[in-house]
């Protein structure tokens, strides 16, 4: 049985990310997803390396598979993968590529990279858990605001809302990179379909924690995490 693991991987992440990127200049905050992923693995998800295949574990699906350095660093900080793997990103013998492959990386729930696939897989995962009476695990899926351009997301948003898929939380990290923006706001795309939504500062760990654990009964939940505009 997995248990909630509360740790603080924060102090270790800068060093781990540097091993991946070889970049001395940029702080971890250059990675738009790092705070969300850190708060999830430090404080929210009930999953550990020893229980990475436990049916009762929470699932985290990185739909926005591009730029996974923050994800790999957090997985290493939590012991899912050896730190040494970080030194050979996308090398010929590396298990870590520029987009993660679940078959190659322990703890990675889906292979992603092509945008617009994670939310559908998350809906199916949430349905599959429910069908097997696994009512404790929650499915978290992380997307980007530009990723929402892909129409497949809107198939999933409408269906998850219409069927009140209550064990699903989507997180959209919004760095204002969608080419045509989202007039009226991202959250409305979800709430009009029956989701609950919280919009927070994507760098504020307390606010992120409250939002990531702020799902209400009977409805899928959205967290919009605002970060700086993509430079």
């Amino acid at each position: 049985m997995t248990t909630t693991v509360t740790t603080d991987s924060g102090p270790r992440l800068p060093g781990l990310i540097r091993r991946l990127t070889g970049d001395e200049k940029h702080a971890p905050s250059a990675h738009s997803t790092i705070d969300v992923i850190q708060v999830l693995y430090d404080r929210v998800l009930r999953v550990t390396p020893d229980a990475a295949d436990d049916p009762e574990r929470d699932r985290f699906l990185l739909s926005k598979g591009h730029g996974p350095a923050a994800y790999y660093a957090v997985l290493a900080a939590h012991g899912f993968i050896p730190e040494a793997w970080l030194d050979d990103l996308a090398g010929p013998a590396s298990r870590l590529g520029h987009h993660p492959d679940r078959v190659l990386v322990p703890g990675v729930e889906i292979g992603s990279g092509s945008l617009g696939h994670g939310l559908g897989l998350a809906v199916g995962t949430a349905l599959g858990l429910r069908a097997q009476g696994l009512l404790k695990p929650r499915v978290y899926v992380l997307l980007g605001d530009a990723e929402l351009d892909e129409g497949s997301n809107h198939e999933a948003i409408a269906y998850a809302g219409a069927t009140a898929l209550a064990n699903l939380t989507a997180i959209v990290v919004d760095n204002s990179s969608a080419t045509h923006g989202w007039a009226g706001g991202i959250a409305r795309r979800f709430t009009v379909n029956g989701w609950t939504a919280d919009t927070v500062d994507g760098r504020d760990h307390t606010d992120l924690y409250v939002a990531l654990t702020g799902h209400r009964p009977g409805r899928p939940h959205l967290v919009v995490a605002h970060v700086e505009n993509k430079g």
Binding site: I110, G120, V123, G124, T125, L127, R130, A131, S152
Partner: protein, 300 residues
């Protein structure tokens, strides 16, 4: 007379009752027929609406949790439209599903090109060698193929058609000789519902006619055992789909190959399936003309 689609609906309904691992994902097509199953198993029968990308994504997610999804629509919506979802949400995740199509090739002749998918089997070939492709030629072949698929976690495509042979050969997952020709007689390989028109076309010709409902994996050892120097492929989908498989299997055997099937051209014509069979040269007369010309050309 039971149609393949009815056999699929009956068998899937029974599987949902009997095997708690089974799940069904629909995108409105056949939803009414599965309503009773949905009432009994609301947690395992999903109609996502007209959302085919989501249909495959949901199947991938279900499979990741250990369920066995059966996914169903018209071939063009199930396969052509969702090609990247099949590639990534199933194959790349390392999970399988049972995809069951209707509307094979020109079954939807009166509906036009938008409802036709002669290239579906070729699309699975482009994904690699993981997929088992079943093309039954008779409704009685459907239930055992579907039940077999449901017990595994493998990726399986079951291609149902309204075209059918008079007789079922449920055990023909390997090549089965239906009509034996003389020594060294040319070999005519038929897939699914092409058997009967081919038998009619080759009546009185000295050829061996073999049949299978499972073109992938192709029975290459059976093919080599039956090997002739002249081989004719008759397939109910895009012509030449299995040419590369046959050529590889016979790479070390001097041979000539004629591949017959549905032409790539959008005919922009309606009519019924028999009209399309005739236009594609896949009725008995057309097949006889093509096969006779091919065999005659070698004998000058």
């Amino acid at each position: 007379m039971t149609a393949m689609r009815d056999a699929f609906i009956d068998t899937t309904t029974a599987l949902l009752d009997d095997d708690p691992r089974t799940a069904l994902v629909l995108a409105d097509i056949s939803a009414a027929q599965f309503a009773p199953a949905g009432t009994r198993h609301p947690d395992r029968v999903f109609n996502v609406g007209i959302r085919e990308q989501l249909m495959i994504g949901v199947a991938g997610g279900l499979a990741l949790t250990g369920l066995r999804p059966i996914v169903h629509s018209y071939a063009t919506f199930l396969v052509d439209r969702t090609y990247e979802q099949i590639k990534l949400d199933l194959d790349h995740q390392g999970v399988g599903a049972v995809l069951v199509s209707i509307g094979a090739s020109y079954d939807g002749s009166a509906e036009g090109r938008t409802h036709q998918s002669p290239g579906d089997v070729a699309l699975f070939d482009s994904l690699g060698h993981g997929w088992t492709v079943r093309v039954p030629g008779h409704p009685d072949e459907v239930a055992p193929l579907l039940r077999g698929a449901a017990t595994t976690d493998d990726p399986v495509y079951l291609r149902l058609s309204e075209q059918r042979n008079a007789r079922a050969y449920p055990d023909a997952d390997r090549l089965r000789v239906i009509r034996q020709g003389g020594t060294n007689a040319p070999l005519v390989l038929t897939v699914g519902p092409m058997l009967d028109p081919t038998l009619a076309a080759t009546e009185g010709m000295d050829v061996t006619v073999a049949y299978t409902h499972t073109p992938r994996p192709f029975d290459t050892s059976g093919l080599r055992a039956l090997a002739a120097t002249e081989v004719v492929l008759v397939e109910p989908y895009l012509s030449g789909t299995s040419s590369a498989v046959v050529s590889r299997a016979m790479a070390e055997v001097p041979h000539r190959l004629l591949a017959l099937g549905v032409d790539q051209t959008d005919l922009r014509r309606y009519g019924d399936p028999a009209d399309h069979a005739r236009w594609h040269g896949l009725d008995a007369d057309g097949l006889r003309r093509s096969i006779s010309a091919f065999l005659g050309s070698a004998r000058g």
